[in-house]
Symmetry: C2
């Protein structure tokens, strides 16, 4: 195992690497914002972690002693900074809350260094009535990291960063076993040394952990080619308060229901994923980036559908709507020419050189036949280069008092435009009711033979308490999604934010199945209260 014991590696009140943070808005974005919002954005105030007054008490000394006996005294942290840094995730409302003087935080941060340590912590938590919030990369955006004690007297954060590293690589089968706390870049680095790649690149790539990907059913930008994280996982080890599961015996088993799937998306409410076994592939020899333009979103989406149903095999295929195309072009410096120029699709093909080229040709033939025109390769290079950049831009916007948030859903191809219209209307009406000028961008981020996801970016001039102002808008969107046949989440997960809408998606008996599993594995109900399962 590779230990990563440093705690401060992301911005505490923003996204990611402090070294990459930029305080200055890109010129094109500043111009656009002025046009959209009606005023020039201005810098706003931030506070330091030390300035936060914690509203929740430190874990009592006897609890600390019991946990210290299990994992070592230096790995039960009750200092102010550790608690503040585990107080929540990275949604925009989370970051807004990081700017308040008073904040809730877990009573302690526990960092077990072994699977036995995790099991001991869960046993102690169940005995003593301490709620446990598993913490991987800390990149959750749906409230699953809220320090919510539920019916219990205290909550602890269980940070998995010490449970990290590549445990085993089966280079014949193309299977790698990682400890769940392994961050995605560390996983790729360990695989790259052996000539392999996992190829899971969500926006959270720089910080998210493999256990987090599994717990949240993550999707990545390359999922068209390599599948969602769900599809990559071939096995899991899960420690629950009542015992440990070792699941995923063989590819293509029919030995009863696939229990791996009961834990993918379980968001820490049944137990803690400690090990993840994943399918990996040889590092692609070739990487071909292309862009196409379509007259409008509808024709572009139809072209993506045809590619996916034909199975030509792109690694990445995504389509920005007119508004997002304009902004993206603005970011590559050609705003003047771009506005009102239709929709851009980005396509990436990988693999052995021959296959990559054959796949690219097949995709290009389908896209062209469906009305697409090849566009400048610069667009695809620019997307590729900036693919993890959006959250940094969100930070800069927030520092200029501009609210920027993303939300996502998925549905069948035949229902895609109905759903897009419903979400757009809900946003427009909600932000209108809040008196906020705004811009809504949308893209198809992930494709499946039967449907696709829609990813919305909202930039809004919300005044006052931005998190409070956003809440009714988001509720209106969630209502619209479930009414219009979308899923409440395509890849951000349920967390606490979407939990009230889950029953409308999976029904009363769906919830009953999840609660029955939880009762069996976590009878004391200490695992991540309030997340996934709505309060009764």
């Amino acid at each position: 195992m590779t230990e990563h014991t440093e705690v401060l590696d992301m911005r505490w009140d923003g996204w990611g690497d402090p070294a990459k943070a930029t305080e200055k808005l890109p010129g094109g974005v500043s111009l656009l914002l002025t046009a959209v919002l009606g005023h020039r954005p201005r810098r706003t105030a931030r506070i330091r972690p030390a300035d936060v007054e914690l509203t929740t008490p430190e874990l009592p000394a006897d609890d600390v002693r019991a946990l210290a006996a299990a994992v070592g005294a230096e790995y039960v942290r009750t200092d102010h900074d550790a608690r503040v840094l585990h107080a929540g995730g990275k949604s925009t409302p989370d970051l807004v809350r990081r700017r308040a003087r008073e904040q809730a935080a877990p009573g302690a941060v526990v960092l077990p260094g072994s699977e036995a340590g995790v099991a001991a912590v869960l046993r102690i938590a169940a005995e003593k009535g301490l709620a446990v919030v598993p913490f991987g990369g800390g990149t959750a955006v749906t409230g699953g990291l809220e320090p919510d004690a539920g019916d219990h007297r205290q909550v602890i954060s269980l940070d998995l960063r010490r449970l990290a590293g590549l445990e085993r690589l089966d280079d014949v089968s193309g299977e790698a076993t990682f400890w769940a706390g392994t961050r995605a870049p560390a996983a790729e680095a360990a695989l790259a040394e052996r000539g392999f790649e996992l190829g899971h690149f969500p926006q959270s790539f720089e910080f998210a952990s493999l256990g987090g990907f599994a717990a949240m059913r993550s999707s990545g930008q390359n999922s068209a080619g390599h599948g969602r994280f769900d599809a990559m996982v071939t096995g899991l080890r899960v420690v629950t308060p009542t015992g440990t599961l070792d699941l995923g015996r063989a590819p293509g088993s029919a030995a009863g229901p696939d229990l791996v799937r009961a834990f993918l998306g379980s968001e820490g409410v049944f137990g803690v994923i400690t090990q993840v076994r994943v399918r990996v592939h040889e590092t692609p020899a070739e990487r071909l980036r292309d862009a196409f333009t379509f007259p409008d979103f509808r024709s572009g989406a139809d072209a993506l559908r045809r590619v996916t149903q034909a199975g030509t095999g792109p690694t990445v295929i995504r389509l920005s709507d007119e508004a997002e195309t304009a902004v993206s072009l603005a970011q590559v410096g050609s705003i003047g020419k771009a506005l009102g120029k239709g929709c851009t699709a980005i396509v990436l093909h990988e693999g052995p050189a021959d296959l990559a080229r054959a796949r690219r040709d097949a995709t290009a033939a389908v896209l062209t036949a469906a009305g697409g025109k090849p566009a400048s390769g610069k667009l695809a290079e620019s997307w590729d280069h900036g693919r993890f950049g959006a959250p940094y831009l969100r930070d800069t916007l927030l520092e200029h008092g501009v609210f920027a948030e993303t939300l996502e859903t998925a549905t069948t191809w035949s229902n895609l435009h109905v759903l897009r219209t419903a979400v757009t209307e809900a946003l427009t009406q909600g932000l209108g009711a809040a008196g906020a000028r705004h811009r809504i961008l949308c893209h198809v981020s992930h494709v499946y033979p039967t449907g696709a996801s829609l990813y919305f970016t909202v930039v809004a001039g919300l005044a006052g308490d931005m998190a409070a102002a956003w809440e009714p808008v988001k509720a209106r969107v969630n209502d619209a999604i479930v009414t219009a046949g979308g899923t409440i989440s395509h890849h951000h997960g349920v967390g606490t934010d979407h939990a009230p809408w889950l029953e409308r998606e999976i029904g009363e008996h769906g919830l009953r199945v999840l609660r029955a599993i939880k009762r069996e594995l976590d009878p004391a109900g200490v695992m991540n209260p309030g997340t996934l399962l709505p309060r009764a």
Copy 2:
């Protein structure tokens, strides 16, 4: 809905269509059997359904009345023939039991004509303490159709044949919704009319139902291209004794664990699958069949691995070992030339003409680079032509007193030969202990990026009670499979036959999860007792 109310459409004591049954052994097979078994096979006796003495009582009249009120009197059958025809599945031991004078059978056969009817039957069964065995196509081969009442006083067979037909086709999204009792050929016929194909062709294709495919996690011969049935299912409706679930809202959801997967492979122990929504694709324009030969099984398997990991996209790819290659060639009439001639792989590519040819070229390049040599296209045509024929041959063998059975497992590529050796040794030792001369054939039937399945065919000269003689051999094989890291089933399922081995595969807590779901949905425990979940 399309009703299929005829009950007699398979041979009662054999496989499939009585019209296709052949009483004469093919010449090559007869010669081979004589060589393998040391004697010429001779015809043995069969009995008629009317000759069977049922050892289990007919359902009492008040139970019949209650069920008749729910589904109609003509759909609660207690006549001798209906009961005998629902007495079990189609494993070779099942067929051997069909030759005994005394047999157990369900007390009645109930045929609901609507989902509400299914719900009513389950409510009545739970109230009255009647065990329920769901019955789709009747093709189960692991004992899941045993008329086992468990702790209950009687057992009824719930036949889904009236719940059949294509309910809806979304031709944009490529999604079709079928009632669960729809037989696979009827599903393909309904889709073909609209230019679509499901493309799921297991050996049981001619009779199996779509609900059965889902309940058993079926794999088909074309699964390399179209995925296992698991991967085709985008939604399910399931009626349980406590309520109904409607699952699978959108492709690529992350709204908690994928509950569809809790019911795929549930083998009727949680409830009855009433509706199946599946991904379909346009009828392929091109269909290209090829064969390759390899010097031995190891080099052939390695070539299949390379194709699968490169993702060149064959629809079918399978590899027979030396023994199976010899028998297959014997069946196409060239036995003399074939014996000892290495291993044959069959490859099929489909799709739009251009894509099919590009895929075929890519596959051929990988196979050739890995040591494969193109072989006569006749081999592939012969396989394609005879792809559903093996069970008919089994019937003929059984009528000649020769025991023929299949079994299957899967594992990672790196463990494939270890597992094959372990299973072969277990069979050899077990059949040796039984004093039976035999021949063991093996093929790789399904491939995945991380591993493959192994499908064994055993032909043995078992004397006396063949089912009783086979039982310890099969137990020895199951022990060998779980010890050598294989799954207890790749596609035949768990049933009653594999249930005692399930805990060694999924662990104590895996079983606890399944039992917790069952307690929640079927608190009276009436659904398919003894199947999947081993007796406590």
